[in-house]
Symmetry: C2
Subunit: 227 residues, 2 copies
């Protein structure tokens, strides 16, 4: 699964966030990037670490989270293949605001700050790419914070269902269990379980081990509004 046999240069050209850079710039990055593979549940870095590499997720799936002293977690976002993360640590010289953990086996490139700053200095469009990436994160965090504050658990769950559904069906993957989902929604498994039960009893959804089926889109939307 390690891509070390393929030329690094070719890999870098396929990084979404570097699209448009010329071969020389890419070669410079390629020379300095490091490759790492993380097993499921492995910690990529901890909240509070001073980690100055920029990360690029080649394959796999991660979660970014904060946790409370009592062990409860708030998942801030899931990180999917093709995304970069730790812009804060890499570019702003601050400690990581969140912990990153692998949900599946994941392969990442580590790009050292030095190389990155060089490229940004020479190729402003790379800076614009990074700015756009950070803007996406800001938008996501604004939505998360306001939803946590202004919506009920039920409304947040319904919203997630409607977003994730592909034609009224949400397939359950390995990491889409109630524990992870609850941490994402900012609650605990028991409460989420109760919500699912109530929506099922109301005839709005149908859930089994494999998938969740949306039975009444309008009803769900209506119910999410009053909450």
């Amino acid at each position: 699964m390690t891509p070390s046999n393929a030329p690094l240069l070719k890999r870098l050209q396929s990084f979404d966030f570097l699209r448009g850079l010329d071969p020389q710039a890419l070669a410079r990055l390629a020379a300095s990037a490091t490759w790492k593979v993380f097993a499921p549940n492995a910690v990529i870095f901890w909240e509070g670490d001073a980690e100055s590499n920029l990360y690029y997720l080649q394959y796999g799936l991660l979660k970014a989270l904060r946790s409370a002293p009592d062990g409860r977690e708030q998942v801030l976002r899931f990180i999917q293949a093709g995304e970069i993360f730790n812009e804060v640590g890499a570019l702003a010289n601050r400690t990581n605001p969140a912990t990153a953990i692998a949900l599946e086996e994941s392969g990442v490139w580590l790009i050292p700050r030095r190389a990155l700053e060089e490229v940004i200095g020479a190729y402003p469009q790379a800076a614009m790419q990074i700015i756009e990436n950070m803007a996406d994160k800001i938008v996501g965090l604004v939505a998360l914070a306001s939803d946590l504050s202004l919506k009920t658990v039920e409304a947040r769950y319904i919203q997630l269902l409607l977003e994730q559904a592909e034609g009224d069906v949400i397939e359950r993957r390995r990491w889409t269990n109630q524990t992870e989902l609850a941490a994402r929604l900012g609650t605990v498994p028991d409460v989420l379980s109760r919500v699912v039960r109530e929506l099922t009893k109301a005839g709005l959804i149908e859930a089994d081990k494999q998938r969740i089926r949306i039975l009444d889109r309008a009803g769900l939307t209506e119910r999410a509004r009053n909450g």
Copy 2:
């Protein structure tokens, strides 16, 4: 109060986020920037607007917020003189994720995207400044989201007290009323009022119209931990 009589150029040189740029670049920005003054409670822009100017707050105080259909507000952050905002709208071509409202009379510079992109293209350190600004916002939002999810209202209030206090005293400004504070903490005035009452009864703080005094720092810290 309008700075139009002072040369724009001089103003721009004093923008923190442009420090280090050469006079020509500043002159270009100066030529294209617009000046606006907003009265207290005036809306600078609405969530969902496509507003492509970058804003610089020259003087005054703003809040950035999201509001629910029922009127409840979640304040995301306060914006103080010298800060820039709306990087998302200006640089990522997305609609504003939040509404901005003036708490006091406020004077702002509007810098059009075009001019900004030009400067970023020519001066990479300007891009780095903006990236650092956005990193600050991400850090703030991560803290807000996780606090909303993992801490009680009381713990959030105590945290805010301890942060704001200058030598055990927090002066109450015009906008530091319980309504604004509650919106900042992600709750409602009644609940905040109750928290203040309980902390007062427990002998940990002392609050009157003018100021809040911290009586027992250790006690507050301890109480914030269990919550």
